[in-house]
Amino acid sequence: MTDADRRRFERIYAEQFDRVSAYALSRADRQLAEDAVARTFEVAWRRVSDLPAEPLPWLLGVARRSLSELRRAQRRRDGLLERIATAQPLAFADPADDLATRDRLLAALNCLSEPQLEVLLLVAWEGLSHREAATVLGCSAPAVALRLHRARARLRNALHETDRGRAPDDAGGGPPVAHESTPAPRLAKETI
């Protein structure tokens, strides 16, 4: 471990800490997020010589796996949608429309598979490119593009359904949180 490695790590830590923290906080409560952030940078320090020139996607990939491991270790089952449903969202432009819009969105997101939701949030929340999201998820950029395309299509369709006053797909009026059943039959063969 050289002084250059140390300096580089300190620079990355200073530059990326907020981004990694925001990623973890958007997917877990503070306690779990703290643990995941700490674990992420511990791993980064051990593997500082492996860190790519643009380290953020690599760090988010470690944070994602850390959150998953920590949830397993704590036997916690709270998923992405539970987190979204229970967290205070960013302010909507029209406060009067907040609750209705949020419920409508949650119901629509409930129609996405977990991998689709994951890629959608990496792009919408973290502002990542397809290539960067691919690094986080450990897949190829084309796979991300396809998964994102399908996620958008399904979301648009679900929103359209709710706008017409019907429950999206087969949601059946259930609570707007993640469910364990198979997503909409129309896209059930989807593998990405």
Binding site: M1, R6, F9, E10, R11, Y13, A14, F17, D18, S21, A22, Y23, L25, S26, R30, Q31, E34, D35, A36, V37, A38, R39, F41, E42, V43, W45, R46, R47, V48, S49, E69, R83, I84, A87, Q88, P89, L90, A91, F92, T101, R102, L105, L106, L109, L120, L121, V123, A124, W125, G127, R152, L155, R156, L159
Partner: protein, 302 residues
């Protein structure tokens, strides 16, 4: 981001994620950085993936709300850092450096000083700070486990120095880092007294409630128990009762207490040696009488 569905989803992002910089204060992230840099790397120590996964986040050590299970994880995390391992009472590992203090620069230009030998003489501690160019005197006194690393006293130009993690570390094992954060450009004189683990048989200079998080009787179920019901569990934990006192301040101090009385409070005087206050009336279980010590306990335990 021009896609309207993407923009719509963006608005659902939890608001606290947007405030990450506020939720993880500068001193806490600096303390985490110092601990990470003090930890071994795979390159130097060949740490296996399995071992890496077994190590809990060092961050947790600076948090104040640990449950006993988490406290164990926190101690495991400290074990990953040889220099910090030296803080554990009775540890066979001693600091390799002649200096009693390890210094790290923070990204914001400050300095973090971690005491690597909590049993160093005052002369060695002073020399370590002087060698770094600081006119800072750090004194260490033995304290009960939950107070290790916290401030016992502070004087001089205290605005420029602060304990690590705001002095709120609670592990129950005396494994909190002992150290200070020195503000960027600090050149004044400061004197700060911090808690360190006690040696076996050494009396505490400062102590928290024996039932507080991090202390040996936290979640023991003995707060509010009858005296006759408390004796056995205390014995089985290897805890000797130095005295029983009447919490009504009648002055009674004896080797025994009426078996039907209730435990209202307790303080450790030294490792494994406790003093207990009792009353004839049942413990009321309110915050005024230490109910907040139950934080993190299972229902019914205190």
């Amino acid at each position: 981001m021009s896609d309207p569905t993407i923009e719509l989803v963006r608005r659902l992002r939890p608001a606290d994620a947007e405030r990450a910089h506020e939720l993880f204060p500068a001193d806490e992230r600096a303390a985490l950085l110092a601990r990470i840099l003090a930890s071994p790397t795979a390159a130097r120590h060949g740490a296996s993936e399995a071992r890496r996964r077994a190590v809990a986040p060092a961050w947790r050590q600076s948090r104040p709300r640990l449950t006993p299970r988490r406290a164990t994880l926190g101690i495991a995390a400290v074990a990953a850092a040889a220099t910090v391992l030296a803080l554990l009472p009775g540890s066979a590992v001693r600091p390799q450096s002649a200096s009693a203090v390890a210094f790290r620069s923070t990204p914001t230009g400050g300095v973090i000083a971690i005491v690597t030998d909590p049993f160093a003489t005052q002369k060695r501690l002073d020399a370590s700070f002087a060698a770094r160019g600081f006119d800072i005197s750090v004194r260490l006194v033995p304290v009960s486990p939950s107070l290790v690393g916290t401030v016992v006293a502070i004087s001089g130009d205290s605005a420029g120095i602060a304990p690590l993690g705001r002095g709120r570390c609670v592990t129950g094992g005396g494994a909190c880092p002992i150290g200070i954060q020195v503000a960027r450009g600090f050149r004044g004189h400061g004197s700060i007294t911090l808690g360190r683990p006690a040696r076996r048989g050494e009396s505490y200079g400062s102590t928290a409630s024996a039932f507080a998080p991090g202390e040996a009787l936290h979640c023991s179920g003995l707060l509010g128990a009858r005296v006759r019901d408390a004796r056995g569990p205390l014995r089985s934990r290897g805890i000797a009762v130095a005295w029983w006192r009447d919490a009504n301040a009648s002055g009674r101090s004896a080797a025994a207490a009426p078996p039907g009385e209730y435990v209202w409070a307790a303080d450790f005087l030294a490792p494994g040696k406790v003093g207990i206050w009792t009353r004839a009336a049942p413990w009321p279980g309110d915050r005024l009488h230490g109910a907040n010590a139950n934080r993190g306990c299972r229902a019914g335990r205190r």
